[in-house]
Symmetry: C2
Subunit: 248 residues, 2 copies
């Protein structure tokens, strides 16, 4: 049985919950983690409220191999992620000399005011995550990785974190176009294929546009032979249904 | 004090967690609810796993005025939302004659097979939510609104739900461009403005592109006078800082 490495993602920020900012990090991180063999099992979005962040961090870090967070690590008063994570872990937080040194690469001494120094507040015992774009680092404490919310910075941080992560067997997926067959036509046969094939999950995904519905069936699993066998059974099913096909 | 009507959103589907499908519903629903005076306080994304859906439905419906869900109400074996919601409420579930009648508007009797009839499985005591596109309804039980995952259908369902929702005072927001001022320059002054202005929340949102950082400050609140006063204080702050401006 393949090792399963799991993760949760916590998006922190009022701006996502009001719809002002449309999140671009969930889809990116989901695809990235899947690609390196980490199963993203849950995502939560919470506001910039300390008790909400603390509760979510503690609920999620205890349940999954890793917790990744985005958002709330800048210099303004609404950036409360570092303090909230320190509270969740019950550790102190202060200006970290390593983080201060990083900020000094970007700012002249007279520019490094109290607000900017907030970006060097790191929970005790954390490792830093480099930020090549704007220098203010993220950090890792325990199994929690705290990253920036700005997509370009988050993506850089994820690249620098990834080599150090434990990963499991990579999820393999195969997509099969239903090519005009309705979900209701293949649903019964698909359920039978799913029941007969252990170790894979099979999903049916309709999308809708001006030209009508388009259905795609996706087989996912970690054993290539099992995915191939289930996909073959689905191709066989769809071929059979197309032969019998009721035009409606 | 304005009444606060709150909501959570639960997105159900493996395809979002693997990154195969990029969610388009969170941003839409967030903006929609904000626009009608409902405060979206939390979002969760969970896989197509009954116990996960049941746990999330029960955690969220007890905490907020409303819970909205998307996904998992089609005819295939991975569509388990209705059964999971029935389980969360501890009620039975069966073919609902009203839902069957809706499906009959779309399907001929010989087309209405067992898989399609799954879409008429509705928890006991639920009201139906019409689906003008593909007929298979969503439903409301208690304070939980179960909608389709396909964006066009979800959006139609939300339009039909909205007139029946309790709404609170609408959130008003004012956005102020920092026009080249760095967050670290205005952070201290902005914190002072935030501390001096009750009843508003103030966020600072950097974005990053090839041309560098762009910062936007957003004041949100339900009292127009309070929002206007805080926004004026921020304009005054930024004007003062630009006058003093250090070119770095």
């Amino acid at each position: 049985m393949a090792v399963s490495v799991t993760a949760a993602l916590l998006i922190i920020g009022d701006e996502i919950l009001t719809g002002r900012t449309k999140d671009k990090n969930i889809g990116y991180i989901a695809e990235y983690l899947t690609g390196i063999g980490i199963d993203l099992r849950e995502v939560r979005i919470v506001p910039d409220v300390e008790e909400e962040i603390v509760a979510a961090v503690n609920a999620l870090r205890s349940r999954y191999t890793y917790l990744f967070t985005t958002g709330g690590i800048g210099p303004t008063h609404d950036d409360i992620t570092a303090d909230s994570v320190a509270k969740a872990f019950g550790v102190g937080i202060d200006h970290d000399p390593r983080a201060v040194a990083m900020l000094r690469e970007r700012y002249q001494p007279h520019e490094l005011n109290e607000a900017r120094m907030r970006m060097a507040r790191i929970p005790d015992g954390a490792d830093l995550i480099e930020n090549p774009i704007s220098k203010a680092p993220g950090f890792r404490i325990g199994n929690v990785y705290v990253m920036a919310g700005v997509p370009a910075i988050m993506q850089n941080m994820l690249d620098s974190i990834a080599p150090g992560l434990q990963t499991g067997a990579r999820m393999i997926s195969e997509m099969i176009e239903a090519e005009g067959l309705a979900e209701g036509i293949y649903a019964e046969g698909l359920a039978a294929v799913a029941a007969a094939h252990d170790g894979v999950s099979i999903g049916s995904y309709p999308s809708f546009s001006a030209s009508g519905f388009r259905n795609q069936i996706v087989v996912r699993g970690k054993d290539p032979a099992a995915v191939t066998a289930a996909a073959a059974a689905i191709h066989e099913l769809l071929g059979r249904l197309k032969g019998d096909r009721n035009p409606l």
